[in-house]
Amino acid sequence: MSLLVWPLVAIVLASIAAGVAGTLAVSHRMVSIGGGLAHAAYGGVGLAFLLGWAPLWVTIAFTLVAALLMTWLVERSPERSDTLIGVVWALGMAFGILCVDLSRTYAGDLNAVLFGSLLAIPRTDLLALGVLDVALVSLSWIYRRELLALAVDPEFAEVAGFPVRIFRAGLLCAVALSVVLLMRVTGLVLLVAFLSIPGALAVRWTRSLVRAMAVATGLTLAFGLAGLALSWWKDLSPGACIISVAGATYLAVTLARRR
């Protein structure tokens, strides 16, 4: 039984981060940037692997640099933003793979990056996830009005003299940090589903950003537990089961809404 305690703690902490960051990513149209960062973060994991340093801190630093680079490119380049996101996405992954190749050692640990390692997540990662949750919840509560106004009409916010660029950079860093810490629990593939599906459903059903974050957290937890139950019952991959439950719910709600 005690073996299950830490994975459950990890699921609850991950659900809070995914619910808050996912709602912010959906409402600020940052889901594709989040997906791009999740893949670019693989470069940080590879670099840590090559240097033999602690993966958590190297990946955080690498992903924050990738996030700021993405913002800088999107703001200054005439290229379409989705193209630039795709470039950073692919380059980050390629860099990670090259680092692993150069290290000439066994890359078994990297599977945890792609698929998560719920049963073997280090306590330091859980502590970092807990700190992130507290920071995300507090800042989202304090700046809830500004976050909503910026999402609804960013041009008005700029004209009103609001520091839009600073806020957007902060938002992107919050999404980047969430991506890195969630990736250790959920894996890269499940992370993209958690950043998009619960938040997308929650913003439809609620009238305030804070309520949307609470509903998205509950949905992430429910999808996670239901997927794990399905996985245990049918002896299937847990990540794929969780994504299937979340995706099926999203499609059912979307189709029901159109009728």
Binding site: E146, L148, V152, F156, E158, G161
Partner: protein, 265 residues
């Protein structure tokens, strides 16, 4: 007296395409200025210049005696409702309270006086009973009135409105212009619209934007030839309930792209 705004020999455009060429316009404070012209002529570009969202290639822009970005606390802006992200968890009251952005410290809640002011403007625009309604549940006209309220809570010295009554019915149009008329006794508003009929009844003067220039007519009456020069094709006045100008029939020698001017003048 410091003008509400001044464009001096301004040229501007986007990605190699010049919209205005050495255009000048100076508006004294007080009253409503109507701005007309076909699609793509540069009406919204003039608003973007005044808001500091676009820098001129040549010439100078002054708003309330200062460069536009420094004058933002004195400017109110009503965009077209189409620019909004409506499918988000926010209410009409949230939208109107966003009008205080930039005027108070980020993170601080609205004061009782700010709430009262927001509710006051919503009431005068007839949407206060909709304040708890989600943005996605509002009609285009109701949302547009919310945007007007959001701009008015700032009590700006210069109010810029881009098609503020495009989705509103006649009653809401009347309410908006009555409010603007009262608001602009000591302040200035610029209303961009395609509807010359509505503007002619409600504004102090009209500026025609077209063919890279701006021509300011000191009154609300625009000569027929000036209107046709701005739109690049014949325009005539018809009446169906209220006076209304439309593009009239004209021969095959006219090469003007009418899809771009929206049909109505």
């Amino acid at each position: 007296m410091t003008p509400a705004f001044r464009l001096q020999e301004v040229s501007c455009g986007y990605a190699g395409h010049v919209v205005l060429r050495q255009a000048s316009l100076e508006i004294a404070p007080g009253g409503i200025l109507g701005m007309i012209g076909p699609n793509g002529a540069g009406k919204s570009t003039v608003l973007r210049l005044l808001l500091g969202l676009l820098d001129p290639l040549e010439g100078t822009v002054e708003v309330l005696g200062r460069p536009p970005r420094q004058a933002r606390s004195g400017i109110g802006y009503v965009p077209q409702s189409l620019v909004l992200e409506r499918d988000l968890p926010g209410t009409l009251e949230d939208l109107v309270l966003a009008g205080f952005l930039g005027l108070r410290r980020p993170g601080s809640p609205p004061t009782a006086a700010e709430l009262e002011r927001a509710h006051g403007w919503m009431e005068r625009l007839g949407v206060v009973q909709l304040r708890a309604r989600k943005l996605s549940e509002l009609s285009g006209g109701q949302l547009q009135l919310g945007l007007v309220a959001r701009a008015l809570v700032r009590e700006p010295r210069l109010l810029l409105l881009d098609e503020p009554t495009a989705n509103a019915d006649a009653r809401a149009q009347g309410a908006v212009f009555a409010l603007l008329d009262e608001f602009c006794r000591e302040r200035t508003a610029v209303v961009v619209s395609h509807d010359v009929g509505v503007l002619a009844r409600n504004v102090r003067s009209i500026a025609c934007v077209g063919a890279g220039t701006i021509v300011h007519h000191g009154t609300r009456e625009v000569p027929q030839d000036a209107l046709e020069a701005a739109y690049g094709c014949p325009v005539e006045l018809i009446a169906h309930g209220h006076p209304h100008r439309v593009l009239s029939e004209h021969g095959p020698d006219c090469h003007h792209d009418h899809a771009s001017c929206g049909g109505h003048a």
